[in-house]
Symmetry: C2
Subunit: 255 residues, 2 copies
């Protein structure tokens, strides 16, 4: 249990034990559905790292897959560099959302994970986790649930990109973030975006200029109120209708 060295480049994690039992992400994260004894078992595996400051990478694409990571606070983006060197953002990860589950097959990470803001992160060595899962059925079940959630989430994202209108893509992202913040106990209608406009553009596969204009349009239409990174959803029903999530009837009623 040595003190953290302030050396910036070293991403080695300290051996600090996690406190899953007192973590408020309990029911979003790995411990969900487990009893106290099981959680204790989990805590022996999980270690908390020194916080990652903005821009620091948790791991890079092609690095060997050893562990999965879960932010406790802050936010993380995962991306891969395209053929032209541009960042293709694959996901934004809020506290309790597991990162790195895609590395199991190839035994290496498929993506690069980078902190969007100061982020406390838990590291979970995957081999230990798997062994524990074999002993603790509740852990096995929850681990699979998290993987299933990841699959469903990516499918949802494919749907978002399938929608052609930039405004609708942006609306879907804002609604998605809204729900995820709400589930974490934050406001569903007012929150700070952890990512830049360019990040949003790279995620929605749009030009940054288009994202800016899309924000303008949503604001002009009275759906959201945007001030820099602060977003307030002024009419969530209309926003959902506009995004195409509601039926055609609702849509016409809201417009």
């Amino acid at each position: 249990m040595t003190a953290d060295s302030p050396t910036a480049n070293v991403v080695t994690l300290s051996g600090l034990k996690a406190a899953c039992s007192t973590c408020n992400l309990h029911d979003l994260c790995l411990p969900y559905g487990m009893n106290d004894a099981d959680v204790a078992e989990l805590e022996r595996i999980v270690s908390r790292s020194r916080p990652f400051s903005r821009g620091r990478t948790l791991f890079r694409a092609d690095e060997p897959f050893r562990a999965i990571y879960v932010p406790r606070s802050g936010a993380v983006k995962t991306y891969i560099l395209g053929a032209d060197g541009s960042e293709q953002i694959i996901g934004f990860h809020l506290p309790g959302e597991v990162i790195g589950l895609d590395g199991m097959v190839e035994h290496r990470h498929q993506l690069t994970a980078q902190a969007l803001e100061l982020a406390g992160v838990c590291e979970v060595p995957f081999d230990l986790l798997e062994h524990a899962a074999a002993r603790v059925p509740a852990l096995q079940h929850q681990l699979m649930r998290l993987m299933s959630r990841e699959i469903a989430g990516k499918e949802q994202q494919l749907l978002t990109l399938g929608d052609h209108s930039p405004e609708r893509r942006l609306a879907l992202l804002l609604l998605d973030l809204s729900q995820r913040y709400a589930r974490r106990g934050f406001s569903a209608t007012e929150f700070n975006l952890p990512m830049s406009r360019q990040d949003i553009a790279a995620y929605l596969r749009l030009a940054a200029e288009t994202v800016s204009r899309a924000f303008g349009k949503l604001q002009r239409d009275g759906l959201v109120d945007v001030n820099g990174r602060l977003v307030r959803i002024t009419n969530s029903i209309a926003l959902a209708a506009f995004s195409g999530q509601l039926s055609a009837d609702d849509q016409s009623r809201a417009s």
Copy 2:
């Protein structure tokens, strides 16, 4: 072990036991990494259905999630209907590729799965599978590997859609199918597409006309030879280079 009734609408599966031990998809599917005793355990769970003819659905979005499905032969597409009623195709599934793993969290299927051609399918009740996985570590491991593969695959798909050029998107799909066929013992350079042009369009988020033109372009450039659904990859290196999978150097060399 009653004979299958020919009633078309009934998707109830017959109780026929699977023969995972003699299935040639062994190392792609669930049995991978398991010993004979473990496979025998798995066979008690898996049941083979009467083949699904073209256009028949294995399950529909919103239906309760009870089982996952694996085609033994043929091909299956998964999709969801967009707000405007259009089919948004999420995936094409070849033999050995598990379908339905996204249903675990919400306890209902997120997508509709439909046979693209006559398809033999294995049905695996998920609760039984999970119980078996808790007893058989090799099964637990492989199940997680399959889920991880699914996540990585969806991420790859997001990358494909991120690419703006229709020709490159199509090239990436063809290369993807090529690899997947190759791993199944089929030719990597010559194969029949199981899906229509419209399906390809719905998958790549393009208009059908654009897909047609993209095929024309790839053919004119001497990368592929297309006759209806028969595809022959005449220059796989150039095709990979064109798709952006290879480095910029390779790309300039091939063009």
